[in-house]
C-alpha cells in the first residue's frame, strides 16, 4: 500500500467522513452545492474568456468585465473546493483508484497554472491592450486553454461515477 493510499484510507475512515458517506441528506446536498457553485465559478470565468476571444462584450475593456466578476468567481471557487473536499473525504479510498478523478485533478492543476501564467504575463500588461476588441495572441491562447481545461474538469467530474467500482 502506497503512502498516498494510506493517507486516503485514513481520511476515508475518519468519523466525519464516514458520517457523510452514510448520510441521507448531507451527501446529496454537498453534491448539489458542488454543481451549483461550478456554474458560478466556471460561468464567470467563461465570460472573461469569451471576452478575451472577442466573442462577447467586445467593446468593453477587459478589466471592466473581469474585476466585478472576480468576487463571484472566488465565492464559487471557495464553495467548490470546500464541498469537493468533503465529498472526496467521504470516498477517499475509492477516489484514489478512480482514473476520472485523477485526470480531473491533473486538469484542475493545469487550469490553475494557466490562470497564474496569464495573470503574471499578458494580464499584467492589460493597460496597453485591455480596450482592444482582439487582445494579444498570448491572452487569446490562455482564454482558449481555460475554456478547454474547465470543460475537461467538468466532464471528468461527471465521469467519476462511471469508473466507480466496488470490490
Amino acid at each position: 500500500m502506497t503512502a498516498l493510499l494510506q493517507v486516503c484510507a485514513w481520511i476515508h475512515d475518519l468519523p466525519w467522513a464516514t458520517a457523510i458517506r452514510e448520510s441521507e441528506i448531507t451527501f446529496p446536498a454537498l453534491e448539489t452545492v458542488h454543481v451549483l457553485s461550478l456554474g458560478l465559478m466556471v460561468g464567470t470565468i467563461a465570460i472573461v474568456d469569451l471576452r478575451l476571444l472577442g466573442v462577447v462584450l467586445r467593446h468593453e475593456p477587459v478589466a471592466r468585465i473581469a474585476a466585478p466578476l472576480l468576487p463571484a468567481t472566488w465565492i464559487g471557487f471557495g464553495l467548490m473546493l470546500s464541498t469537493g473536499g468533503l465529498l472526496f473525504a467521504a470516498e477517499a479510498t475509492d477516489m484514489y483508484a478512480n482514473p476520472a478523478f485523477r485526470l480531473k485533478l491533473l486538469l484542475l492543476g493545469l487550469a490553475g497554472l494557466n490562470m497564474l501564467v496569464f495573470h503574471f504575463t499578458s494580464y499584467s500588461r492589460r493597460v496597453r491592450w485591455g480596450s482592444e476588441v482582439s487582445p494579444p495572441v498570448g491572452a487569446r491562447i490562455a482564454a482558449a486553454a481555460s475554456l478547454t481545461l474547465w470543460t475537461g474538469v467538468i466532464i471528468m467530474g461527471r465521469a467519476i461515477a462511471y469508473f466507480h467500482h466496488h470490490g
Binding site: E24, V55, A90, I155, H166
Partner: protein, 142 residues
C-alpha cells in the same frame, strides 16, 4: 458570425446540460447493468455498506455446483432506501436476503438490487432514483 457563435455556445451548454441532467442518479442503470439479464439471488449477508452514492449488500449464494459465491448487490443510497422504509440497521450480518435484479455487464458477481426482500418479509424497491433502469419512474417506488 456572432449569432452563429452564440448558437454554437448555446448548443454546447445544452449538450453539457444533457450530460449532467440525471442529477439524482449517480450513474445510469445501463452504464453498469444488463436489463436483459434478470436474476434472483438468495443468500446470507456477509457485509453491509450503507453508503453514498450507492449502498452495497454482500451475500453468500450457493451456485448450481454447490459452491458458495460472494455477490455484491448494488442499491440506492441511504436517503433513497430510507424514504422507502428500509432504515440503517434493518439488516444484520447473517440475515437472509432475497434479491431480484439484473446482472452486471462485465460478468462480475455484481447485481443491481432492483427489489430486495428483507428478513421481516418486507419487499423494498432498491433501485437508484432516476437511473432509467427497470421500475424507475414508478411513483410508488420514490
Amino acid at each position: 458570425m456572432r449569432t452563429k457563435l452564440l448558437a454554437a455556445g448555446g448548443a454546447l451548454i445544452l449538450s453539457l446540460g444533457a450530460l449532467l441532467s440525471p442529477a439524482a442518479a449517480h450513474h445510469s442503470f445501463s452504464a453498469e447493468f444488463d436489463g436483459s439479464k434478470p436474476a434472483r439471488l438468495i443468500g446470507r449477508i456477509t457485509k453491509v455498506e450503507w453508503t453514498n452514492p450507492h449502498s452495497y449488500f454482500y451475500v453468500d449464494v450457493k451456485n448450481s455446483r454447490g459452491e458458495i459465491v460472494n455477490w455484491a448487490c448494488e442499491g440506492g443510497g441511504p436517503g433513497a432506501l430510507s424514504r422507502r422504509g428500509w432504515k440503517k440497521g434493518d439488516v444484520k450480518i447473517g440475515d437472509q436476503l432475497v434479491v431480484d435484479g439484473y446482472l452486471a455487464k462485465d460478468g462480475s458477481h455484481t447485481i443491481d438490487a432492483r427489489r430486495v426482500t428483507l428478513p421481516d418479509g418486507r419487499s423494498i424497491y432498491g433501485g437508484t432514483p432516476g437511473d432509467g433502469g427497470p421500475g424507475d419512474g414508478d411513483v410508488k417506488n420514490k
